[in-house]
């Protein structure tokens, strides 16, 4: 793999990819944590905070342990193998985000409604049976634990893959951590679900970043030399961004033309 000594040009490359790395981890974490916050709030306001917050804490410990264990383990792989594996995984994973975001933006898939999700969570929490285990309200604990764990797994996946492929696990984790703090503070201030967060726009941006990074690294992993090295990452983002907007426009036109009726992803 070509990695010349750092010069002024490489410093520019490094800062571009580093900024994108932190941005990707931050945005992915923010959007997933908004969804986790809705679940936690829905349970906490109805059934009390003690068991709910213990569930949140337990899930956070599991997620942090996963990053601490898997991140350094991945770095034991040779960089070419790592970038191929991580790139291919990111590509498959990122395309899912991008595909769903395009379907939502073009009107083929319903947008996620945090307010409705909150009401649903609150209603379920109100009718669920009381069961005490280990001194905890078991429903509150398990729902908060599962909610944070499942939403957080995607963040962990992104942090580990982004961070390890670029050798900057700490920065990726810091970007994700900053988003968690921001969402929690916003949630406490708002005292409700953050329904005004433009989730689909953020998911669109994250999907675009994941797919672009995945494409870039996977190609490097099979021996491709990108023209302009890491600067060509911006070209990949630009190409896939333009393609995505073109697809959104085409799908909107198709939907408005009434063909096909009732199609769902």
């Amino acid at each position: 793999m070509r990695r010349p000594a750092l010069g002024a040009h490489d410093n520019l490359d490094v800062s571009t990819s580093t900024v994108l790395l932190i941005l990707g981890a931050f945005l992915a974490s923010a959007v997933e944590m908004v969804e986790a916050l809705t679940i936690v709030l829905g349970v906490g306001v109805v059934r009390g905070w003690r068991s709910t917050l213990i569930g949140v804490g337990a899930a956070t410990i599991v997620l942090a342990a996963l990053i601490a264990a898997l991140g350094p383990a991945l770095r034991l792989l040779p960089i070419v193998t790592l970038r191929l594996v991580v790139g291919a995984l990111l590509l498959a994973f990122g395309l899912q985000w991008l595909r769903k975001a395009i379907l939502r933006t073009s009107g083929y898939k319903a947008l996620h409604d945090e307010d409705e999700a909150f009401r649903k969570e609150r209603d379920q929490a109100a009718t669920a049976a009381q069961e005490q285990r280990m001194g905890l309200d078991w429903y509150s604990f398990t729902v908060a634990f599962k909610g944070v764990l499942l939403e957080g797994l995607e963040v962990v996946f992104i942090v580990i893959t982004f961070g390890s492929a670029q050798g900057r696990l700490g920065l990726a984790a810091a970007g994700a951590g900053a988003a968690v703090v921001l969402v929690v503070v916003a949630g406490v201030l708002a005292r409700g679900p953050l329904e005004r967060v433009p989730e689909n726009t953020i998911k669109f941006a994250v999907g675009l970043l994941l797919t672009s990074f995945g494409c870039f690294w996977a190609a490097e992993g099979v021996g491709v030399h990108w023209p302009g090295d890491e600067l060509s990452l911006l070209g990949v983002i630009g190409f896939l961004g333009a393609l995505s907007f073109a697809l959104v426009r085409a799908l909107r036109r198709q939907r408005l033309a009434g063909l096909p009726v009732g199609a769902q992803a």
Binding site: A92, L95, R99, L247, V261
Partner: protein
Amino acid sequence: MRYLRSFGRFWWNFIVGDDWRVAAGIAFALGVTSLFTHGGIDAWWLLPLAVALVLAGSLWRATHRSA
């Protein structure tokens, strides 16, 4: 056994998702890119092109499924 099956299904849904053809198309494109690069052709353009085709194809299938 049931636990293993659900564990496998979870990771399949997590990585591959709704359309397995996307992951298969990417794997195929990576294989072809590898053949090109090992044959001395620096095919940096192939994977972005494959991503574009795979994405467009998957969206077409998703929006025409119940047509």
